[in-house]
Point group: C2
Chain length 362, copies 2
Amino acid sequence: MPRESALTTPGDGNGRGVTLEAVAREAGVSRATASRVLNNSPKVSPEVRRAVERSIARLGYVPNPAARSLVTRRSDSVGVVITEPTSRLFNEPFFPRLLRGISGELAARQLQLVLLMPESRTDETRLEQYLLSGHVDGVVLVSLHGDDPLPGDLMRHGIPLVVGGRPASGVTASYVDVDNRDGARAAIRHLVSEGRRRIATIAGPADMAPGLDRLTGYRDGLDEAGQARDASLEAIADFTHEGGQHAMRHLLETRPDLDAVFAASDVMASAALSVLRAAGRSVPDDIAVVGYDDSPLAEASDPPLTSVRQPIEEMGRELVRLLAASTERSSQATRRVLLSTELVIRRSSHAGSAVQAGRDRG
Amino acid sequence: MPRESALTTPGDGNGRGVTLEAVAREAGVSRATASRVLNNSPKVSPEVRRAVERSIARLGYVPNPAARSLVTRRSDSVGVVITEPTSRLFNEPFFPRLLRGISGELAARQLQLVLLMPESRTDETRLEQYLLSGHVDGVVLVSLHGDDPLPGDLMRHGIPLVVGGRPASGVTASYVDVDNRDGARAAIRHLVSEGRRRIATIAGPADMAPGLDRLTGYRDGLDEAGQARDASLEAIADFTHEGGQHAMRHLLETRPDLDAVFAASDVMASAALSVLRAAGRSVPDDIAVVGYDDSPLAEASDPPLTSVRQPIEEMGRELVRLLAASTERSSQATRRVLLSTELVIRRSSHAGSAVQAGRDRG
DNA sequence: GAAGGCCGTGGAAGCGCTCTCTTGACACCG
DNA sequence: CGGTGTCAAGAGAGCGCTTCCACGGCCTTC
């Protein structure tokens, strides 16, 4: 058992090319034992373990992941597939926050994040090949569009899978979603409590789950308060700035008497704000406005927007937890997790006061 | 050479567990030959190649990446390290756009993207271990903070490396950056051509490269136009909304005569907008405002902000190209790429007209 | 005091692939 | 007609690791 070899650079030696064999030799044990230390098997005596650990440090040994993966049949990494259309990707901090959540939880489990953003059909074919080839131990799918064959194919091949955002009906995978319906309901409840009586909504398109759910929540809220619903108070837009402006103008024409607007996104709420200002309506005195997402826009708007904040990071973390659960104990049970939202009240809905946001971003 | 085996599910057979050995047997050739087909070596006769390809399809064979990687000593994946502080991550679509650019270019090269977002010191230690262990063939580092030891360590170990955003002096790695200085200069040139004569700036902190470069560009622009610089026209903020508001109020107090403001970010420009409105100054009639980043905020502001648009996707693509170049021909030469910006003119700086953005996002 | 059990360790197989080296078939040349 | 070059194909080693199995030493137990 050599104490200090002049031939081996201590500490930060390059490590590349140093094999477990070399470590074992240095420590005067067999490769099997060295491997046991690496995988901290309980059946290694303390002295031997220490010796091996010293050799590892001395030689700067780093295990070869390919060799390990070849025999264990695990890759210790998970694929995160983002098929989100560009618009949503770029207009809110949804994407970075989600990735941060996922990344943090994966890191805690010593798993790696392989990011996959297919942009074309060709990409999607390759993607499937990739996921099926054992490159990853599991897959996180973010908001797939309805007819995507991917989840089905993955499940058929027995690859653990979780979906972020409620998947199209027919997909039986586990998923995590934000409680859009309840978020919208809370927004309406707030407007009602502020004394608003003719609450309109700028909704998202009905073929997108969040659009639909938030509209449903809006109606729930009115029912709850005993306010009559009215189709003339509902305008459908497409989550864009222009769509929001158009919808707001339309609402002002058909229902000039409205005293509040709940928009299904901050982008649309902010668009509504500019239309209202141009029309000479004051916010929040004449009309209260509430957005959704609590994006940077909400804070930057004038007046700052009351908005529904979603626990996006938490969604990422929960996705990983769910995936890990289905990997570890190969429980086939599909699970659904619904995360609750939080209403952040700002000036756009709260007459005559300078409300602080109550929480800072980050 | 069996034509059709009843034992093997054709087409979508699970593929897991099917080895190259099995393919070779099915095709009646040796494993070596099958491998040659896989790596399309030229020294395989057309008939044999076809036979092997048929067997691959029939068995649904997918190569085992670990086995391949073990012998080739390549991983065919690159690590993308994001150490960006949360603020910038979340306030602009910088991050998704960059990743999309990187992802697209990697896909074209059949490389995988391993995303690494260390959040703590511990994470960073593990990160380094990971990168040095041969998990990745190269590394893209996004905007590292000055004293990060990572680039040095990576270079010392001979791991190909490129940096996004100008790195701290001392780091000799190749990098891609956006021409912040020129972008700011173009903004000033525009304001001058609009007839503005007392142009102020809300600059970023001097210890951040973009902050510094944009301030320098602002000064360049004034020099170019023969307008005198004046320290009382320069306010330093921290890229936040609050910072922007504060700076704008300060400028209004000390230089009530200013007729234009160039802010180093849309967030700060938007904040300036709300302060100006509260002060009863009209934009753009009294005061023109220009932002930076062309974020969604620019379009949503009222009036919409003229802003400097950066080619973020292109930056991502260029990073990958640079990395690939340094991997393929192991050229040690460090290279610097500076990408040029584009000024998107909107109403906030263009008196008496309803300018269209000229380009849509996405 | 011999038989059995336990526990730490080593030997060795083998994961699925690539690639060097060798072989065999065939054509061409002197 | 033997020698040589060319080219497709096969044999086999080996990448670095995990893990099954066997083994030897020591402590119990009757």
